[in-house]
């Protein structure tokens, strides 16, 4: 469990983190989202005692980080995969971390195996690709078999197999009852991994809620209907006081409708349905809506090249959105 | 248009790219996929004339890059965002690129505006974050207003707003009739951006087809069906009816059914006949990731060793539940073990000795990497893809998870 209470960090004039209060609970993956410059990294650094809060307080299982005996056994973190001395081998890098926390040498071999770096364990870290560096950072986080894990952009540089692996790793760590706190800019990845979300913008807490609630509160949800008896269906809907929109291809959309109610309605009226599918916007769309004002670097429309970036509110192509959301 | 013919690159006795032939057409975003070490970067470098092919050739608009007249005005590329002199400001970096190819200085300020760096244009790029460096790289690629654009992992380090922006930028560049060739490891991003895919593995072509075809060739579409929660017997009844009609029915975690092999109207009719009311009946397509995983499965060896946690079985702090035994429900064992990392010297996979080209010929994924039958893709009448030998469960489970 990670508890933040009124956590604040000021760099000169700039308030990087402003009075953040939230708790990261065990047994689930908590996603930590926010635009660039929102204060995510600063927050994570304060959790690890690397930066000192200007005000407020952060505790790991009720204890301040610098009071932890052998902290790697409580909390393992991947903050920056490049935080490694390039001249040191992967094995020695992990060994010196293990020794500082009284972790046996045999554990170093194990985590190297777990992340698949055994074959290059004796190679210097500076020859590693970004993906390999990321694996080394994950190995360091797992070293003390900690109850709490914190990852900053864990899939950076990993290939699809690696991304798939880290996603399953985080889920299984959470399923074992551990606390997993992960930041990422990849909304589609987060939608597949996280159960709970903490969203910050300009250093302030914007949301602390479950994934499902977050999407529901920040985007449009609707039910799509298709039926060979379209006219009867429209009649039945209007009799029940439900407004439906025709969207072409013979499909109807009912905003905010409950699929079970619509199913019962069709059954009562003896109407055959060929589709009855609940639709939700993607996590990305929900996130964009929430953080629209909190973005620091806005891209602008090109004048001569003629490219026209769409505004953040624009929803991606329907099928894609839904595909992403459901993970199919 | 980018055209590769029999492109091959050897480094010593290591073959990075072998007999690669493909075309990247204008007017579409073409995704370039493959595991680490599959030869994507080498191919990109050969397209840009940075590496010389051992045999074969690759041309842009009919010319090899090095003989392309005024190349910077025709081709823009983002290969490595860090390929910038850190002590120089963003603006002077772009300005010296512009001057090299006779692009007016006005254009520099334009592209800085396009990528949203106008406020930090005078700052040294050394202090840039990964995302800002990436924007600068994209600005450099756009500088000559080129017809052909290459991007290697363009969303690296960008935040969600930046990712959305890059996605829309690439789509609109393609919509203007330009050739856009993008490599990425992020399948979900590719699914949203690319129209066409070129997939390579072990330096050879695995697939060259539209995203839609790729997904239906490599995975099964299915329907999600939910019956009233209050009446479990309805669910049993429907399962029996669907199975009898030749469908495959799998229960999902939330009580819904995953049905393959039957079209939606047929499921609806069967439910009606069995007098079962439906609370949900939605068509689903597998994800690009799932399809990609199936296709490249043959090219990945999972290492399985068990995380022993030697000497770490310490007493748990009070109030903490002990860890559940492995494996975790819903997760295959393999979830814990990382797939092999990119090799450091030496091929990750042995080169197959089979005659090159033929089994992987573009468009027909009938080679050993295609899991699904290459039959006409009727989405709901297709038998489920044969479970692949290694870890099919993990692939399935992850995408099934209703999050």
């Amino acid at each position: 469990m990670i508890e933040l209470a009124g956590l604040t960090k000021r760099y000169g004039e700039k308030l990087a983190v402003n009075n953040l209060t939230f708790t990261v609970r065990p047994g689930m993956v908590t996603g930590f989202l926010g635009p660039n410059g929102a204060g995510k990294s600063t927050t994570m650094r304060m959790v690890l005692g690397l930066d000192r809060p200007t005000a407020g307080d952060v505790r790991i299982d009720g204890i301040h980080y610098d009071q932890l005996k052998d902290p790697l056994k409580y909390i393992g973190a991947l903050l920056d995969a490049k935080a490694v001395h390039g001249g040191r081998s992967a094995y020695n890098h992990l060994l010196c971390l293990a020794q500082s926390n009284g972790i046996p040498r045999s554990r170093v071999r194990e985590v190297l195996d777990t992340v698949g770096l055994t074959a290059v364990a004796r190679k210097k870290a500076k020859g590693f690709s970004m993906g390999m560096g990321q694996r080394l950072g994950i190995a360091a986080a797992l070293l003390g078999d900690p109850r709490i894990l914190m990852f900053d952009e864990p899939v950076n540089g990993l290939d699809p197999e690696g991304i798939h692996w880290i996603r399953n790793l985080m889920k299984s760590l959470a399923a074992q009852g551990r606390t997993v706190f992960v930041s990422s800019h990849l909304m589609s990845e987060m939608a597949l991994t996280a159960d709970h979300l903490v969203v910050i913008g300009q250093g302030r807490l914007l949301a602390d809620t479950t994934m499902a609630d977050f999407i529901q509160q920040n985007s449009r949800s609707y039910v799509r209907l298709r039926s060979p008896q379209r006219e009867q269906l429209l009649d039945a809907l209007s009799r029940a006081g439900i407004s439906a929109v025709e969207v072409g291809n013979g499909a109807l959309e009912v905003d905010g409708g409950k699929p079970e109610l619509l199913g019962e309605l069709a059954a009562r009226n003896g109407i055959v349905l060929h589709e009855l599918s609940p639709q939700q916007a993607s996590l990305e769309a929900a996130f964009m809506r929430l953080t629209a004002e909190a973005v620091e670097y806005h891209a602008h429309a090109e004048t001569v090249g003629g490219t026209t970036p769409s505004p953040p509110e624009q929803q991606p192509e329907w099928g894609a959105t839904w595909q992403q959301r459901k993970g199919h | 248009m980018i055209e590769a013919v029999g492109l091959t690159k050897r480094y010593g006795d290591k073959t990075a790219v072998y007999n690669l032939s493909f075309q990247v057409r204008p007017g579409a975003v073409t995704g370039f996929l493959g595991p680490n070490g599959s030869g994507k970067s080498t191919t990109m470098r050969m397209i840009l004339g940075l590496d010389q092919p051992t045999s074969g050739q690759v041309t842009i608009g009919g010319y090899p890059y090095r003989r392309l007249p005024n190349a910077p005005r025709q081709v823009g590329a983002l290969l490595d965002a860090k390929a910038v002199h850190g002590g120089r400001s963003a603006r002077s970096h772009l300005l010296c690129l512009a001057q090299l190819s006779g692009i007016p200085a006005r254009r520099v300020d334009e592209v800085l505006g396009v990528v949203g760096l106008q406020d930090v244009a005078k700052k040294r790029s050394k202090g840039f974050s990964l995302g800002m460096g990436q924007r600068l790289g994209i600005a450099a690629a756009l500088l000559g207003d080129p017809q052909v654009l290459l991007f290697d992992e363009p969303v690296n380090g960008l935040d969600p707003e930046g990712i959305l922006w890059v996605r829309n930028l690439m789509k609109s560049l393609a919509a203007e009739g330009r050739t856009v060739f993008v490599s990425s490891h992020l399948m979900s991003e590719m699914a949203l951006t690319a129209d066409h895919l070129i997939v390579i593995g072990r330096g050879q072509l695995l697939a060259d087809m539209s995203v839609k075809d790729f997904i239906s060739h490599n995975s099964a579409d299915f329907a999600r069906v939910r019956t009233p929660d209050t009446e479990p017997q309805q669910r049993e009844k429907l399962t029996a009816a669907l199975t009898e009609a030749g469908g495959q029915v799998l229960p999902e975690q939330d009580g819904a059914l995953r049905v393959t092999g039957l079209p939606l109207p047929r499921i609806s009719d069967l439910a009606h006949e069995a007098d079962v009311r439906l609370w949900e009946l939605s068509p689903h397509q597998a994800s690009l990731e799932e399809a990609y995983m199936r296709m490249t499965q043959g090219a990945v060896d999972y290492r399985s060793t068990i995380d022993q946690r030697a000497g770490l079985q310490q007493p748990l702090p009070p109030g903490v539940t002990p860890p559940q035994p492995m494996p975790v429900p819903g997760q295959g064992q393999s979830g814990w073990y990382a797939p092999p990392p990119p090799q450091q010297g030496g091929q990750p996979f042995a080169m197959p000795q089979a005659p090159a080209g033929a089994p992987y010929a573009g468009g027909q994924a009938a080679g050993p990497y295609a899991a699904g039958p290459a039959a006409a893709p009727n989405p709901y009448a297709q038998p489920p893809a044969a479970p692949a030998p290694a870890t099919p469960d993990t692939t399935q489970r992850t995408s099934e998870d209703p999050r």
Binding site: P71, A83, G87, N92, C96 | -
Partner: protein, 256 residues
């Protein structure tokens, strides 16, 4: 978090990077080689020296002449041990593992100091014996009064130079800045201050000039230095302590 664990970890760190081997190796080789060379030259020149110089001829000190250059490699060693943590970003990983910053810094300094002392002492003995062998009939013996003190002092001097560099590097963090200040300081400024009569009296309180007094057996003619060999070493120790306290204050206070 026990100090033993930190020391063990720091020992792994220090032995697993190649810069340790080449900086310490260079310090030893340069000190010994230059000391030997100057000893050979001094033997040849001895007869042409004036009576005063012959009286104050210090064979022990001459065999340590290479230290003026060898100490630069020792400075690089001390700086890199600390500032590599910052330049590579390893510091964040290290401080997450050992959040007690004082324990971290002093564990690191202790390991590097011990290593520098062992290498310095060995260098000092080898330089002494090789130098004396070259000096022939003018050579000093280890059993002569003050010679053993000077030879052990040579090891201590190198150790303290490394410690001072570590303290400075902990204050300044970056290797370039630290080396950019320490190198000219020891190689130029200290020499200039020490050799110009107007500043001589200040110069002799600089760490290297005060500390090197420990290696002198024969006091030069007309020397009016107000401290003895141990007094000089004491002054150097004060400098080292000041640097380490400063380094500790910085690491304790600033964000990693």
């Amino acid at each position: 978090m026990s100090a033993i664990q930190v020391v063990r970890s720091e020992w792994t760190k220090i032995r697993s990077v190649s810069s340790t081997v080449w900086t310490l190796g260079l310090a030893a080789v340069v000190t010994i080689a230059l000391g030997t060379l100057i000893s050979i030259l001094s033997k040849r020149e001895f007869d042409s020296l004036g009576a005063r110089e012959q009286v104050s001829f210090d064979p022990t000190f001459i065999s340590f002449a290479g230290m003026s250059l060898g100490q630069l490699a020792m400075i690089v060693f001390g700086v890199l041990v600390v500032s590599n943590e910052y330049s590579t970003g390893m510091i964040r990983t290290s401080l997450a593992a050992v959040p007690q910053r004082g324990t971290f810094l002093f564990g690191k300094v202790a390991v590097a100091t011990l290593l520098a002392f062992v290498v310095g002492l060995a260098t000092s003995f080898v330089a002494f014996f090789l130098g004396q062998a070259m000096l022939g009939e003018h050579a000093a013996s280890l059993s002569d009064r003050g010679v053993l003190r000077a030879v052990i002092g040579g090891g201590l001097y190198m150790m303290l130079i490394a410690m001072f560099s570590m303290g400075v590097a902990a204050m300044l963090r970056g290797p370039m800045l630290s080396l950019g200040i320490l190198m000219p300081f020891f190689f130029l400024i200290s020499n200039i201050l020490g050799n110009v009569s107007a500043t001589e009296k200040i110069g002799r309180y600089l760490p290297d000039q005060a500390g090197s007094k420990i290696m002198q057996v024969v006091t030069p003619f007309g020397d009016d230095t107000p401290y003895g060999p141990w007094g000089g070493l004491g002054i150097m120790v004060l400098w080292v302590m000041a640097a380490l306290v400063g380094g500790y204050a910085v690491i304790k206070k600033r964000d990693a």
